[in-house]
């Protein structure tokens, strides 16, 4: 069963085709990897899935429904969220506030409830706060609760971004280079964390990263992108032995 399916997804910027006719699927409950050399169009695919860019041609199906060209916030409502390559936190807010803000859709009270502090507001606000505390606990951010996001160490900023994404209760989580700038130790921790959250939150993960140990270590399926086109698709061992992939990464000998 596929949670996400790209059918001939194409994105052109003027004359440049950043992503050309890409077909691939993310099976439900898996961790799928998206790799490729720099400029291959990986982040562009994330931007297409999350509605940041409009698709030039093709379809993007989430749980069988076409979500291409929807506004990003609607795609978040459907159950897809992401992190960014160049971390985008609410910089001046605290760790707690970052997560609490993202919990917003789990409450339904309206402006009037809030202004008059009606029971629904109080009840739901309490739930949101519990959820936020809970997420901080899971992600190991509890002791940095009131620290401003911008002052967090780099690794924890990445963690916070994942925590914020989880606040939406997503069904598909897109991680854009979560291990960028991390040392092997931290990368290892991150791997475990991704495993853990998949189990705990029962979600599917699509991950872009250049750390091959990470990608080969946790992904059940990998797609390789080169110059905006699909180069190969398969299990980690299949990809490792694929001559085309080796060529793209290391160049052709002779």
């Amino acid at each position: 069963m596929e949670i996400l399916e790209l059918k001939g997804a194409t994105k052109c910027f003027g004359g440049l085709t950043a992503v050309g006719d890409v077909n691939f699927t993310v099976p439900k409950g898996t961790i799928t990897g998206l790799i490729g050399p720099n400029g291959a169009g990986k982040t562009t695919i994330f931007n297409l899935i999350t509605g940041v860019y409009k698709v030039t041609r093709g379809n993007i199906l989430f749980d069988g429904k076409d979500i291409a060209n929807k506004e990003p916030y609607l795609i978040a409502d459907v159950g897809i969220t992401r992190t960014f390559q160049n971390i985008r936190l609410f910089k001046k807010l605290s760790v707690y506030e970052n997560i609490l803000t993202a919990c917003h859709n789990n409450a339904k009270y309206n402006v009037l409830d809030a202004v008059l502090r009606l029971p629904q507001y109080k009840r739901e606000e309490k739930q949101l706060k519990e959820q936020a505390e809970n997420l901080m606990e899971i992600m190991g951010l509890k002791d940095r609760r009131d620290l401003v996001a911008n002052n967090l160490p780099y690794g924890l900023q990445r963690r916070l971004e994942i925590a914020r994404a989880l606040a939406l209760n997503p069904r598909l989580l897109l991680l854009d280079e979560p291990a960028a700038g991390m040392n092997p130790d931290e990368t290892d921790q991150l791997m475990h964390l991704i495993f853990e959250i998949r189990k705990k939150f029962n979600l599917s993960v699509l991950i872009i990263d250049h750390h091959m140990d990470l990608v080969m270590g946790i992904c059940e399926k990998i797609m390789v992108l080169n110059f905006g086109c699909k180069l190969a698709e398969g299990t980690p061992s299949e990809i490792q032995n694929n001559t085309k992939v080796i060529e793209a990464y290391l160049g052709v000998e002779g």
Binding site: G51, F84, T101, H104, V111
Partner: protein, 293 residues
């Protein structure tokens, strides 16, 4: 109370009402408006029409002024809130000036010559009362998911979208509430001055409101209150300083942005809990100081 002091306080209260609204828009949602005087004008002329021409009571007339300003803001917002960068602020500049210039030509309201004879309904009591309600509504809003979403929009639009915040909707909500505050402030002003003239709502008025918000601190309601009272009272107290007032304001804005862009309050609020924290911190300091001796 001395009528002179009373007058200053009423003016401060009127400014505060408009500043509270602008604070929500600029300080909490990150949108810069050059046209809030336009919303004040709409509110002022509407409220005055209601009391003078239709003999409505004061409070409903005020609310009508706020409502009209909000309606107009929906129209403006629909057209311009999707614009990137400072285009929204440019559009509000156009709106504010256009409103003033249109009113200059509406003879029904006395055109550029002005409209005298509006009843004097605004008193210190009702100004304070309305402002307290305004502050409570704003404070409650800010501490709800809706307020947090507005702050998120200010911080990072794309990330807001990704966590499911309808950026346009929240900008619109902020603009509407902001405009209705300005509209009510305009109504209060009309019934305090007993006279309306389009010139009262020029670009300078808009920028003055923004200066107060910046002075008090972007993202702080307490700051806006402090800013409105201080910056309204100060020039009244220092009469001889009057001609230099705006020179100093302009310079102060630059200095604030360069050295302390978070303004006087820097995002902090005077709330019972924050005061308690402050006192306990001071106490601790005293104890350690004494212990040092």
């Amino acid at each position: 109370m001395d009528t002179y002091v009373q007058g200053i306080l009423i003016l401060a209260g009127i400014n505060l009402m408009a500043v509270l609204g602008l604070s929500l828009l600029t300080g909490f949602t990150g949108l810069f408006s050059f046209g809030h005087a336009g919303f004040m004008a709409i509110g002022g002329y509407t409220a005055a029409t209601m009391t003078v021409k239709f003999h409505w009571p004061f409070i409903p007339a005020l609310l009508m002024g706020g409502l009209m300003a909000a309606l107009l803001s929906v129209f403006i917002g629909r057209l311009t809130l999707n614009l990137k960068g400072d285009y929204f602020c440019i559009a509000t500049l156009g709106f504010g000036e256009a409103t003033r210039l249109i009113l200059d030509n509406v003879q029904y309201f006395g055109g550029a010559r002005g409209w005298p004879g509006i009843p004097n309904y605004t008193t210190l009591t009702n100004v304070i009362f309305i402002n307290i309600i305004g502050i409570i509504i704003l404070a409650n809003l800010i501490r709800s998911r809706h307020g947090r979403n507005m702050i998120a929009v200010r911080e990072e639009e794309l990330a807001s979208q990704i966590v499911g915040i309808n950026v346009f909707k929240y900008k619109m909500m902020s603009l509407m509430i902001s405009a209705s505050y300005a509209g009510i402030a305009g109504g209060l002003m009309a019934h305090y001055m007993t006279f309306l003239q389009p010139k009262m709502f020029s670009l300078i008025k808009s920028t003055e409101l923004t200066i107060i918000v910046i002075f008090g601190g972007l993202g702080s309601i307490s700051g806006s209150v402090l800013g409105a009272v201080v910056l309204t009272a100060l020039p009244e107290v220092l009469r001889s300083f009057a001609s230099w007032r705006l020179v100093v304001y302009g310079l102060a804005v630059i200095i604030i942005m360069i050295s302390r862009p978070e303004g006087l309050m820097g995002g902090y609020e005077f709330t019972p809990s924050s005061m308690r924290k402050l006192f306990s911190r001071l106490k601790k300091k005293n104890i350690t100081a004494e212990g040092g001796k």
